[in-house]
């Protein structure tokens, strides 16, 4: 297990070092804020299906290489309330966080309107729900290597459209035990990081995940662009019991060329 963590660390470190060695002119920071919605179902936690309503915040950093490749690091956090149509007494706090680091190779360098990039990286996704403090807890963690792709289309000099997709292929899946609670969780309740990184290494037989973001950019100046984003995220696992988490977030933000 430690070797795999070491490998992940090296991957991220190499990406970071490589990022610092290339052109600094086109590095981009982005910040977005918006409305989070979706649906939540975890049969370890409850037989009910819950609606997700909350707030999404995203922070991104993109480094462009001379050859047009991109290193994209993105951190996303959603805080929301899970509510059931069946009863308003089961409302539950839900938190989602995802960190993605991807290296994308530019497939068609040039001046065309369409740009295609493909590559991969690593993502760490965590979804945790807390009912009435800790009376009931649900969680899904997936720390996985993923494949990634991105398409951009310059509609005009000021307008750009981009779509980015990540699909995790192999990673560590963390799920609660069958009854939702065990001695391991009890003994480590003060060190949740230990709980959220304790899982099995697996692949599509145990999970499916998808992150899709659609971005529209409006250039305000040489450095600033307005961002409108619709992103959807779907995670499914049948480990322990079936869980489905669907997120659909609509947000606005800005990007800044460093």
């Amino acid at each position: 297990m430690k070797k795999i963590y070491l490998l992940m660390g090296c991957t991220l470190l190499c990406a970071s070092i490589y990022a610092q060695s290339v052109s600094r002119n086109e590095d981009v920071l982005s910040l977005s804020l918006g409305y989070a919605s979706g649906a939540f179902q975890d049969q370890v936690f409850s037989p009910l299906t819950y609606d997700i309503r909350g707030t999404a915040v995203g922070l991104g950093y993109t480094k462009h290489t001379r050859g047009g490749d991109q290193i994209v690091i993105h951190l996303d956090f959603v805080t929301s309330l899970l509510s059931s149509d069946r009863s308003d007494k089961h409302d539950t706090d839900n938190y989602q966080g995802i960190l993605m680091a991807n290296y994308l190779h530019h497939l068609n360098p040039g001046k065309g309107a369409w740009q295609f990039l493909a590559g991969g990286g690593f993502q760490s996704y965590l979804n945790a729900s807390f009912f009435d403090g800790t009376e009931s807890i649900a969680f899904l963690g997936l720390h996985a290597f993923n494949i990634a792709g991105k398409v951009t289309y310059d509609l005009s000099e000021r307008h750009q459209f981009a779509a980015a997709l990540q699909i995790p292929v192999f990673g560590q899946l963390v799920r609660p035990p069958y009854t939702g609670w065990n001695k391991f969780i009890q003994e480590n309740e003060d060190t949740p990081l230990r709980i959220f990184t304790s899982g099995n290494w697996t692949s599509f037989q145990d999970f499916f995940g998808l992150n899709l973001a659609l971005n529209y950019y409006y250039r305000l100046s040489d450095r600033w662009r307005l961002l409108m984003q619709y992103d959807t995220r779907f995670y499914r696992s049948s480990t322990t019991e079936i869980t489905n988490i669907l997120a659909a977030n609509l947000r606005v933000g800005a990007t800044f060329n460093i």
Partner: protein, 353 residues
Amino acid sequence: MKKYYVIVLLAVTFSCKEVFFETEPSNDPETNFELFWTDFNERYSLFGVRGWDWDSIYAVYRPQVNPNTTNQELWVMCKAMIAYLDDSHTFIFSRDEKYMIDGEEEYFFASGSETHDQTEREFSIDLIRDAYLEDLRDLSFDTDIYLSGKISGENIGYIYFDAVDVEDDRYMDLLLEGLEDSDALIIDIRQNGGGNDIVAAEFASRFSDNTSLTFTVEEKAGPGPNDFSPKIPFHAPPPRGRHYTKPIVVLTDNFTVSGAEIFLWYMKSYDHVTQIGTSTSGDFSDTSMRRFLPNGWQYQYSIMKYLSPDGQSLDGLGHRPDIEIRNSEADIAAGKDVVLERAMQYLEEELGI
């Protein structure tokens, strides 16, 4: 054209819900009953060790449920179903509605609690505090009582606590402060609602004289009746902190529950400990996370199986005392705690203290 892309995208997104999500159960009496019964059937841990026949409960109550069953009628049935389990770690409550049962409003029911009110009347910490103790130190916090002192006129220490749930693992060191020179110690865990097994081990470590295997724990790990995790062994903790190995009497009653019983289990593995009082509650398992029904009810139940090293379960039986004695309400009214007095008599007659 662009707006059509957006519509298609939204449709694709939310079709995930239609395709992948399980159908949500409806809120009707039969569905609520089925979910409730099935959840216990698949996740409750003590059917085997307690010898309960959950199928027989289904056979009795399922025919009584129909689409016209009211929530109040269903409440009465679900109460009876969990009352059958006689397990104080199992309860049900309604956050939406209150029900009139025998002329009283009801929204909460805990199984295995029928004798608790009576047991409560057979104990008074105020009586002990006023009539039996000196050099009292009150280390209580929030609603939990933690007392330490000496039996009046004797060189016998006395510690009382009604929960096993403190943030500071060294709390027992504070309770033992000033009692190191006593000839014996009475630890009173009557009316103790339990708490945290880790704290129970930490408390017991102050009295440790061995680290023998005390019990094993198995967790329900699947829907089948024998689907349990591998046994996790728990040994009596080694000595830690302020250490006391002189004679100890632990006082118990029928409301010595859960974490308090785990503490006692460790204590009973030490040679210098004697239990006096009545059998404990016999509720060892950790409880499940809160469970949810479509009609707004919530409930919890036992999810583990604690076994002694020889494979026996004490669930439903509790720890049997070495010397059995029980207060009556009249004793308390007369200002006497005969259980505590029996402990003092034992220390004097059997151990010359």
